[in-house]
């Protein structure tokens, strides 16, 4: 099986660096994401190692790193299934919604938990850290942040934390 040909069938946008065991496949169309994931699973990529976002000024890139336990040829490959989604414009909240003022609203991508159950905790983490809403995730809650965490999306680059206000008189 030539992995490069198989990946090119899924998307024309493929980056391969065999020396570093780094394989990347980029998907633009959200409708094709689930198909691409199913095809990869049928190839033998049976588990998700990590789900993460990368925050850019205009977009959020969602990466599912997948690998294989069952197919001998694929055990040495770290494949990044990458999907970019444009960020909506920041909402101008009024004073009453103080904490959310100027913050960027979340983005929405399809969840791949139905295909790869191993993504379940990883997608929850990407949701709380990057504000990526995974549509179809059965249990999308905060994982590590407190339930009443009031700031939005701490791993985004525009996140500013409030220092503790200490007054000494």
């Amino acid at each position: 099986m030539n992995i490069k040909d198989e990946l090119l069938k899924i998307s024309t946008n493929v980056v391969i660096d065999e020396k570093k065991a780094h394989y990347k496949i980029l998907i633009e169309d959200p409708a094709k994401l689930l198909d691409a994931a199913s095809t990869l699973k049928n190839l033998g990529f049976d588990h998700v190692v990590s789900v993460t976002g990368v925050d850019y000024p205009d977009k959020v890139e969602v990466i599912w790193h997948v690998s294989s336990y069952s197919v001998e040829d694929l055990k040495g490959i770290n494949l990044a299934l990458t999907f970019s989604v444009k960020k909506p414009e920041p909402v101008n909240h009024n004073e009453a919604q103080g904490n959310l003022a100027g913050k960027r609203p979340p983005v929405t991508v399809p969840s791949l938990v139905k295909i790869w159950p191993s993504a379940i905790f990883n997608e929850r983490e990407a949701f709380e850290m990057f504000g990526i809403i995974f549509e179809g995730h059965p249990d999308l809650r905060y994982l590590m942040l407190p339930e009443d965490f009031y700031e939005t999306w701490p791993m985004r680059k525009d996140f500013t934390y409030q220092r503790a206000k200490v007054f000494i008189e």
Partner: protein
């Protein structure tokens, strides 16, 4: 017992509303090996649903590392994985080296494997000890923690620090092998081999231990694959996968070792496999000390940047001091991934560089985080009294999972 194959829809179908079930909150104050809360729904004393609530020791390591110079991430990742520091250090440095394009010399590769295997033994002994106290055997807890000491002393002899060694740097390692290390290591290895027999007598072959662990917390091979479980827990379910074999790094391509696998995937197998891996690590340490090649312990790209005082220090004390390059390091733009087989399983790193002073995206996934499905899936259907057995057998470490 959970006989059927895991299905993601089950999570939605479990209806735990109403007064039939008791909700039990275990934790968050240190239920076992760290701070986490396990929320358990019980029907009588049968577990119906488990919701592991993690994050009580979340230390924002990714956020901190994205706002610091590259080299300063080493102490951060080490302090997350405290019983397993060398592997966290090694995985991060391997990723940075891929970005920088530096290849360490053979002697440094062997020294990396050496300290990693010593660390793996201490990590497994830690896991065995914690498992002991979970089952109520304070003897094996004291034994295992006591037997970690000779190995930690070996690490101190080699690296200068007991736990947080920061031994591995881009391009090589910081210290060369000290005089008398080989003899000392051989003594410790022989001691450990003797002790492993004692462990088998009092712990592994103990009928009480067998009664409490055999057929408890079975994880089938198919489930282990689909849930993405890692490390000894994966191999206890019969999956032949080890990053040291399948994505080799350091000196592992040159070493002769076996990957033990088990069949049943129950808690007892997860205990046995740790004992087997200690034996393999002992075998590897002997090979490394026998075959250790001569030469530099740091790559030429780094060595050439040492100033005359540092070079003199390198020749006399066999110690690499940090050239200014280390703090001004700016890896070229690009992204890299690396995997390392730590004591508890596989560490994964994904780092994106934009050629800046700080990493643009610093992502890492630790083995304990990926072993979380044990709580949601494997514990369901067991009695509450079996939950400590399952928790203890997977060698779960909350600070590592929370990062």
């Amino acid at each position: 017992m959970s006989e059927k194959i895991f299905n993601i829809d089950d999570l939605q179908n479990i209806n735990v509303e109403g007064e039939k079930y008791i909700i039990l909150q275990i934790g968050p104050s240190h239920p076992g090996s760290g701070h986490m809360r396990i929320k358990v729904w019980l029907d009588g004393d049968i577990i119906v649903k488990v919701d592991p609530d993690i994050g009580f020791v979340h230390r924002t390591s990714e956020w901190l590392s994205e706002r610091r110079e590259w080299i300063k991430a080493v102490p951060i990742v080490e302090r997350i994985m405290l019983p397993d520091t060398v592997h966290a250090n090694l995985a991060y440095i391997l990723t940075v080296e891929k970005l920088l394009g530096i290849e360490p010399p053979p002697r440094a590769q062997y020294l990396r494997s050496l300290v990693a295997e010593i660390n793996r033994i201490t990590s497994h002994l830690y896991g065995i000890g914690i498992f002991g106290i979970f089952l109520g055997s304070s003897t094996v807890y004291m034994w295992a923690f006591g037997d970690r000491e000779p190995f930690i002393d070996l690490m101190e002899m080699l690296t200068g620090a007991r736990i947080t060694t920061s031994y591995i740097i881009p391009g090589g390692v910081r210290w060369d092998l000290p005089n008398g290390f080989k003899e000392r290591a051989e003594t410790v290895l022989q001691y450990m081999e003797r002790r492993l027999k004692d462990y088998e007598d009092i712990w592994v072959k103990n009928p009480v231990v067998q009664a409490r662990t055999i057929n408890v917390g079975i994880l089938k091979k198919e489930d282990a694959i689909s849930l993405g479980v890692v490390g000894p827990n994966l191999r206890a379910s019969g999956v032949y996968y080890d990053t040291r074999k399948h994505q080799p790094y350091a000196a592992y391509p040159n070493l002769d070792f076996e990957i033990p696998t088990m069949k049943n995937g129950d808690s007892y197998d997860r205990l046995l496999i740790r004992v087997e891996e200690i034996k393999q690590s002992i075998r590897m340490i002997r090979q490394i000390l026998k075959d250790l090649p001569e030469g530099k312990i740091v790559a030429d790209q780094i060595y050439n940047q040492l100033n005359p005082v540092m070079k003199k220090n390198y020749e006399e004390k066999k110690r690499v001091m940090f050239p200014a390059f280390m703090i001004h390091m700016r890896p070229p733009p690009g992204e890299a991934t690396a995997k390392v087989e730590a004591g508890r399983g596989e560490i994964f790193f994904y780092i994106k560089s934009t050629g800046d002073k700080y990493p643009y995206r610093f992502r890492w996934v630790t083995p304990s985080f990926r072993n979380l499905p044990f709580f949601t899936h494997v514990a369901v259907g067991h009695r509450l009294a079996d939950l400590p057995t399952i928790y203890g057998s997977i060698d779960y470490f909350p600070p590592e999972a929370d990062r």
